[in-house]
Amino acid sequence: MGTRDCQHICSESSPAIGEAGTTGEWRDAFPVIDQEKCLPVRQNKPSCFLCWLYCPDAVISRTIPIRINMQYCKGCGICAQVCPACAITMVNEEEFCPSGTD
C-alpha cells in the first residue's frame, strides 16, 4: 500500500491526541480522588485545583468534581503528592482495571 495519497512534500505534522498511543497503558498505579477530602468539592466552589496545575500531561480537568482522563494518565503520582488535602491516592493497577475515563 503506497503513500501517494499523502500530499506532504516535507515532514509536516498535525496536532493529535494520543500521539504516543494510549499512554494510560504505561502506568503501574492510577490516581483515585476522595471526593470528601477534595477542597473544591467540599467547598462547592472553584478553589485549590493544584492537581490540575501540576499535571505534566494536562489530563486533569479543572471541574467540580475533578475528572482525570484515564486513557492518557501516565500514573506519575504528582497530583497525589501536591494535593494539600491528601485527597488523591495512587492505587496499584493490579488491584483494579478501569476502562475509559474516571
Partner: protein, 300 residues
C-alpha cells in the same frame, strides 16, 4: 491580579498522550509556557527531549506552529523566524526558541550569544535537566560537579556547571530570569512579562529529570522545590539591570536560611558517588552565589 490555579486561563496547548516520561518536568513547564503566551507563538526546537515531546510525523502533541532545527542552530533559527515575519509584515506573534541545556550551554551557545549581541527580538527559554537526557544522560556543561552520567560513569563529573543565566545577563539584554517547573505560577508570570519585552529575552527553567537523576517520578515537584530551598536554584529576574528575587527564593531571603545542599543531593541516585570534598565545594559555591544575590536584590 496575580495568577493562581483557579483564575489561570484554561486553554491548553499540549494534548494528552505525549511521549514524555511520567512525571516529566519539561512537559509541565512547556504546558505553562505556552499558556502564558496564549499559543500566539512560533516555536523553534532543536534535537532534544522537547523534540520527542512534540512527537513523530505525521502527528504532534503540540497545538502551536513549530519549526524543528539542527542542534546548534536554535537561536539562529529563531533569528530567521523573526526576520521572515518582519519581512512579511506579520506582527503579534512571539518567536519562542526553546532548547535544553545541551542545546544552550554547549553546542548552541555560539548562535545564542550572537543573537543576543544582535539584539534579535525573540524569547529564548532553556529548559535545564542538567545533561543530554534525550540521548540517555551524557554530561553537559550544566551537569553538576560529582554527578554520574553516561560519560562520567565512575568518577562523576569533575567540574561544576556553568552559570548560563549570568552569561546571558552579561550580554546586556533587557530581560533574563530563572524559573522552575515546581513553581509554575512564577514561571507563568515571567513568561507573560517576557512576552511584552522587546529584544532578546532569556529564561532558564529548571526541569528535574526522574530517569536521568535517578529519583521516583512522583517526586519531580518535591525535588524541584528542594533545589530552591537549598539554594541550588535561585529564582530571580533581571529587568533592565534591576535584580529581583522572586517566589520561594524571595521568601527564603526574607524569612529564613537555606537548607543544607546535601539534603537535595542525597535524594538523587546520580550523586551516589559524590565525595565529601565535592559536597563542600558545591556548598561553598551555593553560599557564595546566594550571598551575591542577597547583596544585589533590589526587593529585599
Amino acid at each position: 491580579m496575580k495568577t493562581n490555579a483557579v483564575n489561570m486561563t484554561e486553554k491548553e496547548y499540549l494534548l494528552p498522550g505525549n511521549r514524555t516520561c511520567p512525571g516529566c518536568a519539561l512537559s509541565l513547564a512547556y504546558r505553562h509556557i505556552l499558556k502564558a503566551l496564549e499559543g500566539q507563538v512560533i516555536a523553534t526546537v532543536p534535537a532534544s527531549c522537547l523534540t520527542v515531546l512534540h512527537g513523530m510525523y505525521p502527528l504532534t502533541s503540540v497545538t502551536v506552529p513549530c519549526v524543528n532545527t539542527p542542534f546548534a542552530s536554535t537561536a539562529a533559527s529563531a533569528t530567521g523566524l523573526v526576520a521572515g515575519l518582519k519581512a512579511l509584515g506579520r506582527e503579534g506573534l512571539t518567536v519562542l526558541a526553546i532548547a535544553g541545556d545541551g542545546g544552550t550551554h554547549d553546542i548552541g551557545i555560539q548562535a545564542l550569544s550572537a543573537a543576543a549581541e544582535r539584539q534579535n527580538d525573540f524569547l529564548y527559554i532553556c529548559y535545564d535537566n542538567e545533561g543530554y537526557m534525550n540521548t540517555g544522560n551524557q554530561r553537559s556543561g550544566s551537569t553538576p560537579l560529582g554527578a554520574i552520567s553516561g560519560t562520567t560513569p565512575i568518577l562523576g563529573k569533575q567540574q561544576n556547571q556553568k552559570d548560563i543565566t549570568a552569561i546571558m545577563e552579561a550580554h546586556g539584554i533587557p530581560y533574563v530570569a530563572t524559573a522552575n517547573a515546581s513553581y509554575p505560577l512564577d514561571l507563568y508570570e515571567k513568561v507573560k512579562k517576557a512576552r511584552g519585552v522587546r529584544g532578546t529575552r532569556f529564561i532558564h527553567v529548571f526541569t528535574p529529570c526522574p530517569p536521568g537523576w535517578s529519583f521516583s517520578f512522583s517526586d519531580t515537584i518535591r525535588i524541584g522545590k528542594l533545589a530552591v530551598e537549598t539554594g541550588w536554584v535561585i529564582l530571580y529576574e533581571v529587568e533592565d539591570g534591576a535584580f529581583r528575587l522572586t517566589s520561594a527564593s524571595e521568601s527564603i531571603a526574607k524569612k529564613g536560611n537555606l537548607r543544607p545542599l546535601r539534603e537535595y543531593l542525597m535524594e538523587q541516585g546520580r550523586f551516589k558517588n559524590i565525595t565529601e570534598e565535592q559536597i563542600n565545594e558545591l556548598q561553598g559555591w551555593v553560599n557564595a552565589r546566594w550571598k551575591r544575590c542577597l547583596d544585589r536584590a533590589v526587593n529585599l
